[in-house]
């Protein structure tokens, strides 16, 4: 799966958790999930679970801890998908 496809799928996942979906219109790989998209920090575990289901992968806790931006998530997912 190419990076752009993963990125687009990530936006769809994040759409479920941001309080303001309009913020996704200008999102880039550098967009911070908590600070820029105003996702409640408690919901990050839900985002991870959704990613696991969507991409058929497992994200370990220490890997999840390193995700700050959408690009961070895309990179981890791309590595796991091979």
């Amino acid at each position: 799966m190419d990076e752009q496809t993963i990125f687009n799928k990530m936006l769809e996942i994040l759409r479920l958790y941001t309080k303001d979906p309009n913020l996704l219109n200008k999102a880039t790989k550098d967009t911070h999930i908590l600070n820029d998209l105003k996702v409640n920090s408690a919901r990050l575990v839900d985002v991870i679970i959704k990613c696991e289901d969507t991409f058929g992968i497992t994200v370990e806790d220490d890997e999840a801890d390193k995700i700050g931006t959408i690009g961070d998530a895309v990179a981890i997912i791309k590595t796991k998908l091979g």
């Binding site: 479920l16 958790y17 309080k19 839900d46």
Partner: protein, 421 residues
């Protein structure tokens, strides 16, 4: 005020349902599949669609039925009180307003549908972040405080079937003490079979009217055969009179006073039955707190659940108010229309009381044309049809719950000319 009841959502619809004597009791197929003896219940209708018109998908994911009913009721009450729902991105906090909304049992659907299955299957890691906020005892008040940006006390009380009344009384005291200008107060309860199962097992809920759901809730009837389980929520906005007058708020009624107590599980009382002395003391304490004479009470909205206890309750009222059947106030049971909504019942019925005071009527107490013989002398005091009552001024509302707990509120019609301070 806001109400999500089995027979109506919203105060206008609820008033109409009360006047018509419309029952919200329906056959519940799931109860039949689960081998319940009672196959009927009161569940707010079409609520899944209703709540989608109030909240976005992200918010709804954190709302089980208990929270959903409470949140919709709170938003309706807030708007009805003349306020608007704040923007979630706005940092304004209303430090003068708090919330006390409780439940009898609470977020059982989250526990049974998600928590227990996932934990027992070893899937804790995949449960997600929304369990605690939906099963904590303060789930309803926490949700409402966030939706409305409330900065005063936010808590959830619990006293079984007395919960809704108790919340209103606690909120009244917080305002009386000058600790809040206004409080949202009420109760909520979801419709889970896992809440109702324990009552079914105790044989205290109705099992003889499964073929006639609308005739099943029969408070004060000779053929009453147990309460009909119900669900829903209601929230009232209580406000300091000065503050309400200052901002020109619509005032539905005045809370003159209230009282709560416990019978101590003695003198005939137990975990499941009221000590009659406790009931009478509670009623008298509420009347005393209200500063009125018992004879000033025009009507009673009883606890009256459709169990063996109804005749005792009527007699306890007569003793407490020191009146004979002849000079006894009118008495009706909102549960005849909506069933027994447990932790929500006091709040839903208090909304019914206030609407009756505001619009000067008494709703019919249905399904008791065959009044229980022990209270035959009170026949003329039970409205079987909607009663227009222009002189109606004061209604006493009581609630009694497991744990031998009691609550009583005294509501009075508000007249804009009665006070000028």
């Amino acid at each position: 005020m806001g109400v999500v009841a089995p027979n109506a959502h919203g105060i206008n619809n609820f008033e109409e349902a009360l006047r018509e004597g419309r029952s919200g009791i329906r056959f519940i197929p799931e109860l039949k599949e689960l081998n319940f003896a009672c196959l009927i219940g009161g569940v707010p209708q079409d609520f899944e669609n209703v709540r989608k018109t109030y909240f976005d998908d992200e918010t709804l994911m954190s709302m089980n039925d208990n929270i959903g009913y409470a949140a919709v009721s709170a938003v309706d009450a807030w708007r009805d009180a003349g306020f608007s729902v704040p923007d979630p991105h706005d940092d304004y906090v209303d430090w003068d307003t708090g919330v006390i909304v409780g439940s009898g049992i609470g977020g059982m659907d989250t526990i049974t549908n998600i928590l227990v299955p996932m934990v027992t299957q070893g899937k804790v890691r995949r449960m997600g972040s929304r369990i605690v906020e939906q099963v904590m005892n303060s789930a309803t008040s926490a949700s409402i405080a966030g939706l409305l940006a409330l900065g005063n006390q936010a808590t959830s009380n619990s006293s079984a079937c007395s919960t809704g009344n108790e919340a209103i009384i606690d909120a009244m005291w917080r305002i009386r003490m000058g600790l809040a200008k206004r409080m949202l107060a009420g109760g909520s309860e979801g419709p889970s079979p896992f809440i109702w199962a324990g009552f079914d097992a105790m044989r205290v809920i109705c099992r003889k009217f499964n073929e006639q759901p609308e005739a099943a809730s029969r408070p004060m009837s000779a053929t009453a055969s147990g309460f009909v389980p119900g669900s829903g929520a209601a929230v009232l906005v209580l406000e300091d009179l000065e503050s309400a007058l200052e901002r020109g708020a619509k005032i539905y009624a005045e809370i003159l006073g209230g009282a709560v107590n416990c019978g101590g599980h003695r003198m005939g009382g137990s975990i499941t039955a009221p000590n009659p002395e406790g009931v009478k003391r509670c009623i008298r304490a509420a009347v005393s707190d209200a500063g009125i004479a018992p004879a000033e009470i025009d009507a009673i909205n009883g606890h009256l659940t459709a169990t063996f206890a109804d005749p005792y309750e009527v007699k306890n009222w007569a003793t407490a108010l020191e009146c004979s059947p002849k000079d006894f106030p009118y008495i009706n049971s909102t549960k005849s229309l909506v069933g027994h909504c447990l932790g929500a019942t006091g709040a839903i019925e208090s909304v019914a009381v206030v609407l009756q005071l505001y619009k000067k009527f008494l709703h019919p107490s249905i399904n008791c044309e065959d009044l229980h013989p022990e209270i035959a002398e009170f026949e003329n005091k039970v409205p079987h049809k909607c009663l227009d009552y222009p002189e109606l001024r004061t209604i006493a509302k009581a609630g009694f719950g497991f744990g031998d707990v009691n609550s009583c509120l005294i509501f009075k019609t508000w007249n804009n000319n009665q006070r000028s301070y």
